[in-house]
């Protein structure tokens, strides 16, 4: 089957959502209410075409004065006047009625203007529901318009004003258009989130669903592919899984408990209440990577970089020096008004650019509180990030705050993603006398044996954490289940006969 001739929009992130672009000659309808970014999208489509792909274009305006459009475009760094001078762009001001009549003419002046500069792209701003001159159906009127554009083999983008009062109602134009991009602004708490949905697009595949986007000063649109959208299966299949190599944890005593370290590209969850030592473990894991000359990415959501550097210093780690040597990339994003698609796109870009071998995310629970536990967003995001790390063979550690102070009734609380991870390390406090002491249990090691024994740890100022080698005092002898009563009630008791029969 021949590859479709795709027109690249050139808009950052959009061609990724469109799997390369839009088939040449498609009539593209950009629908959205006022302020959703239709004009910016259309102008950027023509600007990028003329500037980056040697495809001159025409912009048709009905209401916005061209000088204002040129002024506004300059805010994004787009010099439309220069393109006009170079005969790569024409901006035509007209009325809807003239435009509609014009495209029905065999010798259309408007299309002759487009042909004069060899235009391949057209953007028409501010289209409203078309009226048929002789009182016919708007759908038929739009069909005639589409035919006129098709005749010229122009890839035309038409911005259609819509109110979306009734989401189920479809404008007649939507049935005729080849591609529909729907732009929205949704309130999220007290903020707003811009989104773009490819409702349909004839002649190629594209990523379904609502993708976030931003309008960035000095640049234009930035579209962030919906994080939940499945990536190409080949990307995950492409990852090799080394069954022998281990990645050292950096915690003295822990490597012995995890059979010499984590598997390469494995996913490790460190779960515990605040103060249990998760961030200390993370810093030591990163520092161990730097010591071995491996690149590490640390994503911090709860603490700004200066605080992370200070924390590292308090346990004897010179993180700044590792950053300066290019071995550690510390990336902080405050969790307020999180845009998860954008956040994921940023991580993806860092991973592709920095190529880390180790990664730490501190902490997963911050994503949970931003995205909520009830919807699938958190699970889908976590799934995507785990897949990204595995694809790039990054051995990743995720911290997760469990609110239970003493003991845990569930590993992940309401965020049920533990089945996605390979290793789970539980960090607990154990109350002995009047002191809480640190305890560590390796609860899960995928493809490796584990004893699930609780070990004592200590965190020493200037040194960090280590797992103590001595066994916990009063450890029980290993006896069969048959020696106990009430195993499933989580309060087992030894049978009296068994205890009496034990040798002193």
């Amino acid at each position: 089957m021949p590859e479709p001739d795709l027109v690249k929009t050139g808009i950052k992130g959009l061609d990724n959502v469109l799997f390369g672009g839009i088939p040449r000659g498609n009539i593209i309808l950009v629908a959205g209410t006022a302020g959703t970014g239709k004009t910016t999208l259309g102008v950027e489509f023509v600007y990028r075409g003329a500037r980056e792909f040697d495809e001159p274009g025409v912009i048709v305006l009905f209401e916005v004065a061209p000088d204002k459009l040129i002024r506004d475009a300059a805010l994004f760094g787009w010099d439309l006047r220069e393109l006009e001078r170079d005969r790569r762009l024409k901006i035509v001001f007209t009325t809807r009625q003239v435009f509609q009549q014009e495209l029905l003419q065999a010798d259309s002046v408007l299309l002759a203007e487009a042909a004069e500069i060899g235009a391949r792209r057209l953007f028409v701003d501010g289209l409203v529901r078309l009226g048929e001159p002789n009182g016919g159906e708007p759908r038929e009127a739009f069909h005639l318009l589409a035919e006129g554009l098709h005749r010229e083999n122009l890839t035309a983008m038409l911005a259609l004003e819509s109110t979306f009062a009734d989401p189920a109602a479809r404008a007649p134009e939507e049935f005729v258009a080849d591609t529909i991009l729907k732009l929205s602004i949704e309130p999220v708490q007290r903020a707003v989130l811009r989104s773009l949905e490819v409702v349909k697009s004839r002649g190629h595949e594209y990523a379904l669903g609502r993708h976030s986007f931003r309008i960035v000063n000095g640049q234009g649109l930035e579209v962030y592919r919906r994080v939940q959208a499945p990536r190409s299966l080949q990307r995950e299949v492409g990852a090799a899984f080394d069954a022998t190599s281990r990645v050292a944890t950096g915690i003295p005593g822990l490597d012995e408990l995890v059979n010499g370290g984590y598997f390469v590209a494995s996913t490790t969850l460190v779960v515990g209440i605040s103060g249990a030592g998760k961030s200390v473990m993370a810093l030591q894991y990163i520092a161990e990577g730097a010591r071995r000359g491996e690149r590490s990415l640390m994503i911090t959501l709860d603490e700004p970089p200066a605080q992370v550097l200070r924390n590292a210093q308090s346990i004897g780690i010179d993180l700044q020096s590792a950053i300066d040597k290019g071995l550690v990339h510390l990336w902080y994003e405050p969790p307020q008004e999180f845009e998860i698609d954008r956040h994921f796109a940023q991580i993806e870009a860092i991973v592709e650019r920095f190529k880390p071998q180790r990664a730490v995310i501190d902490s997963l629970s911050t994503y949970g509180s931003s995205l909520g536990a009830t919807e699938r967003s958190f699970r889908d995001f976590f799934h995507a990030i785990v897949a990204l790390m595995k694809e790039h063979q990054i051995t990743a550690v995720y911290n997760h705050e469990n609110p239970e102070m003493l003991g845990m009734s569930s590993m992940m609380g309401e965020f049920k993603v533990s089945s996605l991870v390979d290793n789970i390390i539980l960090m607990n406090w154990v109350e002995l006398g009047d002191t809480f002491r640190h305890a560590l249990t390796v609860a899960k090691m995928r493809a490796m044996p584990t004893s699930r024994t609780t070990h004592e740890c200590e965190i020493v100022n200037g040194q960090g954490m280590k797992v103590l080698t001595r066994p916990l005092a009063g450890a029980l002898p290993v006896v069969p289940f048959a020696s106990y009563l009430g195993l499933l009630s989580r309060a087992p008791e030894r049978r009296a006969s068994q205890v009496a029969g034990e040798a002193p």
Binding site: A65, F93, V98, V109, E113
Partner: protein, 141 residues
């Protein structure tokens, strides 16, 4: 750089150099095409946009086209006509200066004031310009 003062005398001087702008409608049409350099419109709609009656707009359009400031395809059978402002004429520098100045409310009123005084002088003999009104304008052409 400090903007030059645009006195009525300077405005009159500028209008003399451009030559063809004699009626307020000439100026308002030029200002319209300054903001919409490539407009595809029927003349009735153009008249509504600039706010003059159709015969005056038709006359002003002819004036501007004859002077080479505006282009319009001659042989079109379409009711709408494509008008293209031609800024690359020999008058380009003077015209740009006038349009930049008249693109503000105060500037436009000042130019119209001078045009009306000229019209009135022409119909009732010589009358001196009111030189007391001055406005700022950026230099350059």
């Amino acid at each position: 750089m400090k903007p030059k003062r645009m006195t009525p005398k300077r405005i009159a001087n500028l209008l003399d150099r451009i030559g063809c702008v004699r009626h307020p409608c000439d100026l308002d049409l030029l200002l319209f095409f300054y903001r919409h350099p490539r407009a595809f419109l029927i003349s009735e709609r153009l008249a509504v946009y600039v706010g003059y009656d159709l015969p005056q707009v038709t006359q002003s359009l002819e004036t501007l086209i004859t002077a080479g400031l505006l282009q319009r395809p001659k042989d079109s059978t379409h009711p709408a006509r494509l008008y293209v402002l031609e800024p690359r004429t020999a008058l380009g520098g003077w015209l740009s200066l006038l349009l930049r100045f008249a693109d503000t409310r105060e500037g436009r009123l000042a130019v119209i004031h001078v045009l009306k005084q000229r019209q009135s002088s022409a119909s009732s003999g010589y009358k001196s310009l009111d030189l007391s009104r001055t406005l700022d304008v950026s230099p350059g052409g």
